[in-house]
């Protein structure tokens, strides 16, 4: 009994211990920086979880590193860890087991106030599974289905807690147009039943949020004036008291009265920053008319839209480019539903050629996130330049979600989220040999590799020690 307690205590300690990210030196690698030119036979020095040097590290500097801090990546490629531009990682363990599924806050059509970070389970078994294929960061968002789904977050796929994983929250406010809300809210009285209803609900909520925002602006102005008046009041009173002139006012000055604050509304509070574009608005839309609705509403409320899905986006590629609307898309999207009937494999190529910034997501946005590099590979098979495809799973999503100052590239000063691969990074037959998140070398292990070893070790070649 005592032994068990000791073991348990030790385990808990381990879990809570800060990640001891030691400094690392990757040598002789082909460095695909994404942000700049690729370097053949370069070094990457990682210090305090950050990328310190990219290029050549002097032998004097290299001599300071012990053998277990040096990774010889000769013949291999180093590139930024992949960025899942849209996912539900950490929000679900088993889709059909409700107790483990926190993806969809299905209590109403407007749940703008809910935050993905509050449902994020950093210990989810899905995270190491995705990481083994080189995914090191992701946008985690509430699933679609409501008109306002809630707020997303950008996380790194490491750490034992949400706090350690989190980079930004909210990253965006998520809205669904088209079939989703109609299907989710088709019970009588529950919510809008048509695309017309969806659009009018959006307008009315944005209008309320605008008024809410303005009422707080007015209140803040009044409050600022009140503070000023209050600060000046003692002086004012003193001057009155000291005033001996014959035309002195008979009334003693009253202390200033604080203005009444508007009622707090957390739902409108969540929507308000989207107005004016301070916070990104992510619109999930597929059909052409839904995409147009996104453009109209974005114009009306000066939103900063990102299109997610975009089955028909290629049909108005140059308009999206002109309006500077990026598209988060799944290259393998199928004409499997009514609203995705326009889906074609050439979407990514067409959008990119028109000048639209694209980032990629997988079809299964939780258990299937590990297929992200193959989605990029598929886009290349259908005409997208390879460097754009790699950018669409590294730096482009970082730019779209506002974290490109420190994520998505191999660059001095960037967070050390990077991977080493033994071949073309988009080929399924390529092995990811090292995954480094926040400067920490991650163990290439998951519940799935553990199960395979438990039941089939004798059939499997011993795994290469990274």
């Amino acid at each position: 009994m005592k032994t068990l307690q000791v073991i348990l205590a030790a385990t808990l300690l381990l879990a809570a211990a800060p990640s001891a990210a030691q400094d690392l030196l990757i040598r002789n690698a082909n460095v695909h920086t994404v942000s700049d030119m690729a370097i053949i036979g370069g070094d990457v020095l990682i210090r305090d979880g950050m990328i310190a040097t990219v290029g050549k590290v002097s032998s004097a500097e290299a001599a300071k590193f012990s053998d277990d801090q040096i990774i010889d990546a000769k013949g291999k490629t180093v590139l930024p860890g992949f960025f899942a531009a849209y996912s539900q990682l950490g929000l679900v363990e088993v889709d059909m087991v409700a107790s483990t599924n926190d993806t969809h806050e299905s209590s109403g059509w407007n749940t703008a106030q809910v935050r993905a970070m509050d449902g994020y389970n950093a210990l989810s078994e899905l995270i190491p599974v995705a990481r083994l294929n080189g995914i090191t960061q992701a946008l985690v968002a509430p699933a679609t289905g409501n008109i306002f789904n809630g707020q997303s977050a950008v996380v790194s796929l490491s750490g034992n807690s949400m706090e350690r994983a989190l980079h930004t929250s909210p990253a965006a406010l998520h809205i669904t147009l088209g079939e989703g809300p109609k299907e989710s809210w088709d019970a009588p009285g529950d919510g809008p039943k048509t695309r017309m209803g969806t659009a009018s609900s959006l307008r009315s909520e944005f209008q309320k949020a605008l008024e809410y925002k303005e009422s707080w602006t007015r209140y803040r102005e009044k409050y600022a004036k009140f503070q000023k008046d209050r600060a000046e009041f003692p002086d004012k009173l003193r001057r009155w008291n000291e005033d001996t002139s014959p035309d002195k006012s008979k009334d003693e000055p009253e202390p200033p009265e604080a203005p009444d604050a508007p009622d707090t509304n957390l739902q409108l509070e969540a929507i308000a920053p989207a107005i004016g574009g301070e916070l990104r608005t992510a619109f999930h839309a597929q059909r052409l008319d839904d995409i147009e609705t996104m453009l109209r509403i974005s114009e009306e409320f000066k939103l900063s839209p990102v299109l997610i899905g975009g089955g028909d986006a290629w049909k108005i590629a140059s308009l999206l480019a002109e309006k500077n609307v990026p598209v988060v898309m799944q290259p393998s999207l199928q004409p499997a539903t009514m609203e995705t009937s326009g889906a074609i494999y050439e979407s990514a190529r067409i959008l990119n050629a028109a000048g639209v910034k694209i980032a990629f997501m997988t079809g299964d946005t939780a258990h299937g996130v590990r297929n992200l590099p193959y989605e990029a590979g598929l886009a290349v098979a259908y005409g997208l330049p390879m460097d754009v495809a790699i950018r669409a799973i590294t730096l482009s999503p970082a730019e779209i979600w506002g974290v490109s100052e420190f994520l998505g590239a191999i660059k001095s000063g960037y967070r050390a989220n990077l991977i080493i691969v033994d071949g073309d990074p988009l080929q399924p037959t390529t092995q990811v040999t090292h995954v480094i998140v926040g400067g920490e070398q991650m163990e290439l292990r998951s519940r799935q590799t553990d199960l395979a070893e438990k039941y089939g070790a004798r059939y499997l070649a011993p795994r290469a020690n990274p």
């Binding site: 080929q427 037959t429 059939y459």
Partner: protein, 469 residues
């Protein structure tokens, strides 16, 4: 000008008249289904039955593979239409042993839902072939992924969902033309969560795995009873025929002798009540129908094996089978195949213990292993599924067999398709690169010698134009 112009034009026309038939002969769609041979020359041939040939030729005639070998070994008949496929890959047409195309036609709206006759947990008497929408756009997209043959199965809401049908993906064809004549009958069963969720949700049996097993025993027992009744009816009928002959002889004898005859005519036996469902299960037990069982969890696999022992039928393949790696030896020993995915998992509880290393474990333990799609999306890129198999430890040959020869075996059609071998049906896919390369594209697909997909033609007619604004 006129003087020289006319003969010139005549010359051009004459030349065109000479060239035109040749162009017509050598332009897609190519056709090796008739007497004129078709030669695919210069590609890397993944035969599957044997090692790949780096640069080889396949001769197709009358819809069959007439010859296959290295470019220097194979003599191309002088009347052959020759297609240069140098630098490309040639492989057997891909076979998907688990599809719902047609019974869950695109786009996926309720009106297209014809895959689950979910009105009773056992519907052995229904057939997928009776619910197929021939206009499902997914068929064409599968052809564009090098797929030539699929097993369309009913869904898994029912414990016994009904009979599946093996289709050749011939375009613009009636079901009777698509249906592979040589293929044996196939039936779909389902264990685990799906039946108990569907019927338990209505407070009907089965709401538990126990209920599923009880139901299986009930219907198979009933089928045995029906079989006994049918057999008895057969012997009773024989007895009756015999009695009747004797009675007629007696009657005729009496008539001849002018004697009175008032013996009662023998009563024919009453046939047992018709039972279409039991009839199918009787055929299952006699081995006329190949049994495919949807199972995820290890105990579900063991459960259906127990039933098959009790009622003496053979399971051909466990489908999905995400925990099959936990009993690889037993499956190998019983010669039960596994039709699975390389990496789909976690969508329900029984799919939580999956591992992408499972196919490698199964293959190494000598279990016949198949990658199947169960999806009108994945079917288009089965070669990428095979590539994932290589990532986790299969050899290229093993991986390609999981989508060609191995599915042909479990469908009982490997005598005709699944490899590139002399005498087999010319179901062939030509890829731009190695099929295991993520950047590969199917360029041509042939079914029984006839070209059913041509990438160049499709791209030439593509109209991906922006909308006016």
């Amino acid at each position: 000008m006129m003087k020289t112009g006319i003969p010139c034009r005549a010359l051009v026309l004459a030349a065109l008249a000479l060239i035109l038939p040749m162009i017509a002969l050598s332009a897609p769609p190519y056709d090796g289904s008739g007497a004129t041979p078709l030669a695919l020359r210069g590609g890397k041939i993944y035969r599957i039955s044997a090692a790949p040939i780096d640069s080889g030729t396949v001769i197709i005639r009358n819809g069959l593979i007439e010859e296959v070998g290295g470019v220097n070994q194979v003599t191309i008949p002088s009347d052959a239409v020759v297609v240069d496929v140098s630098g490309k890959s040639i492989m057997p047409g891909i076979i998907d042993a688990h599809s719902h195309m047609g019974v869950y036609s695109w786009p996926g709206v309720d009106a297209h839902s014809d895959g689950n006759e979910a009105t009773s947990p056992v519907t052995a008497q229904v057939r997928a072939e009776d619910g197929i929408n021939l206009e499902d756009p997914a068929f064409a997209r599968a052809r564009a992924g090098g797929v030539t043959t699929v097993l369309v199965l009913p869904g898994s809401a029912n414990i016994i969902g009904g009979e599946g049908v093996v289709l050749k993906l011939k375009p613009n064809a009636l079901l009777s033309v698509m249906k592979m004549a040589e293929a044996p009958r196939q039936i779909k069963m389902a264990m685990g969560e799906n039946p108990k969720r569907v019927y338990g949700g209505r407070d009907q049996l089965p709401s538990t795995r126990m209920g599923t097993m009880a139901k299986l025993r009930e219907v198979f027992t009933k089928a045995i009873e029906q079989k006994v009744k049918l057999e008895k009816y057969e012997t009773d009928t024989a007895r009756y025929e015999d009695k009747k002959l004797r009675w007629e002889a007696k009657r005729d004898e009496a008539a001849k002798a002018g004697k009175p005859f008032d013996d009662d005519a023998p009563e024919p036996p009453t046939p047992p009540a018709k039972d279409a469902l039991s009839n199918v299960l009787i055929d299952v037990m006699s081995g006329d129908v190949l049994v495919h069982v949807h199972c995820y969890r290890k105990d579900d696999i063991q459960d259906i094996i127990r039933i098959s022992d009790e009622f003496n039928f053979k399971i051909v393949a466990i489908h999905h089978a995400l925990e099959a790696y936990k009993l690889a030896e037993e499956l190998a020993q019983r010669n039960i195949a596994v039709a699975t995915w390389p990496d789909w998992w976690g969508f329900k509880m029984e799919a939580y213990d999956a591992t992408p290393l499972a196919p490698t474990i199964l293959v190494r333990a000598n279990v016949l292993t198949i990658f199947k799609s169960d999806s009108a999306d994945i079917v288009q890129r089965m070669y990428t599924e095979a590539a994932k198999g290589v990532k986790y430890g299969l050899t290229e040959e093993e991986a390609l067999a999981t989508i060609t020869l191995n599915p042909a075996k479990i469908l009982g059609i490997d005598k005709w398709v699944g490899t590139i071998e002399k005498g087999k049906q010319a179901d062939i896919a030509v890829f731009s690169k190695s099929p295991l390369d993520i950047y590969t594209r199917a360029e041509m697909t042939f079914i029984e010698g006839r070209q059913v997909y041509d990438r160049a033609t499709e791209e030439a007619t593509m109209t991906h134009k922006e909308f006016a604004r």
